[in-house]
């Protein structure tokens, strides 16, 4: 497989069609990053596509020694932030149009369990509460938590996406977990493990 750097070189030389290789390579990850923020498939698709187009527009300014994926995710995260800003400025009646998928439920797959319907309902409710709690986190904490815990990015890469130090990411992660623990306590039947 051709490296990202080689594809970028080819695109910058004028072979625009080769940009499709990068889109194919990272579309799933970019979509998932956007989806973990907005929880809506259509919005996630549009925002991640915007990220690819903006990355193309600024490709000449991309530092070749950096990781293209980290840079792309940073652009997608910024698109999501702008999306929330625009949404916050809209009247409430209009902002309702872009609710999360599945009856406002969750960005998570249901658990594969053989439990009772009651268990499944409780599980679904917990998933919804977790999703909402994540969305209510301060933006920097939300970004760190989403990229690290939901996307599985190493802390170092999260620091690259957020353009901050590793220690700062760890602080955001700690505070985010603390807030989630407090918010989720009422929804855990067996209580939060102590």
């Amino acid at each position: 497989m051709t490296s990202d750097a080689e594809v970028i070189e080819a695109v910058l030389r004028g072979d625009i069609d080769r940009y499709a290789e990068l889109v194919n390579r990272y579309q799933r990850a970019a979509w998932t990053v956007a989806y973990s923020f907005v929880g809506n498939a259509e919005d996630a698709k549009e925002l991640s596509q915007n990220g690819f187009v903006k990355a193309y527009q600024h490709l000449r300014g991309f530092r070749r020694d950096a990781s293209f994926s980290t840079w792309l995710y940073r652009i997608v995260v910024n698109e999501c932030k702008d999306f929330f800003k625009r949404k916050a400025r809209r009247p409430a009646a209009v902002s309702l149009a872009a609710e999360p998928d599945d009856e406002g439920a969750v960005a998570f797959e249901p658990a594969d369990t053989n439990g009772s319907p009651h268990d499944a309902l409780a599980d679904r409710e917990l998933a919804r509460q977790l999703h909402q709690a994540i969305q209510r986190l301060p933006r920097r904490q939300q970004t760190a938590f989403t990229l690290h815990h939901l996307q599985g990015m190493p802390v170092e890469e999260v620091a690259g996406v957020m353009d901050c130090r590793i220690g700062t990411v760890k602080t955001h992660l700690f505070r985010a977990c603390e807030q989630l623990r407090v918010r989720l306590t009422p929804y855990l039947r067996e209580g939060i493990p102590s």
Partner: protein, 132 residues
């Protein structure tokens, strides 16, 4: 306490992974590439004219220019424009106007009288303009 919660959360997220995008890879890429190719094409000439702000600005300037041209056609402005003509043309034009008005002026023969004759002509011209 927080480490226990974190362990529980990681376990829970392991059982409930994030939803994955719908399988529409080809159309996703095609849509992005269509936008990328559109960016790569040179912008059409006078595309800026399509912007409402520019159309308004151009319209305002055109209206202002038309206004200046129309208002500028006052008798005073016409007299000034006559003054901009070279002496010979001005003389011919003035004589023609005077002839039309039935106020012919005799052209003096001696050169020393030329200044006085021109002064008379200026006075006559001013009076004519003032009365119009």
């Amino acid at each position: 306490m927080i480490t226990d919660f974190l362990a529980w959360l990681r376990g829970w997220l392991g059982r409930h992974p994030l939803k994955t995008p719908p399988p529409e890879s080809a159309s996703y890429t095609a849509e992005v590439m269509a936008r990328v190719r559109a960016l790569s094409k040179p912008a059409p000439a006078f595309r800026w004219l399509a912007q409402p702000r520019w159309v308004l600005a151009v319209g305002t300037v055109a209206a202002a220019w038309a206004l200046l041209v129309t208002v500028g056609r006052s008798p005073q402005r016409l007299a000034e424009s006559v003054g901009e003509l070279d002496d010979e043309a001005w003389l011919e034009e003035t004589l023609a106007l005077l002839h039309e008005a039935g106020e012919d002026v005799e052209m003096p023969v001696e050169d020393d009288a030329a200044d006085q004759w021109l002064l008379d002509l200026d006075t006559l011209d001013d009076e004519d303009l003032a009365s119009s």
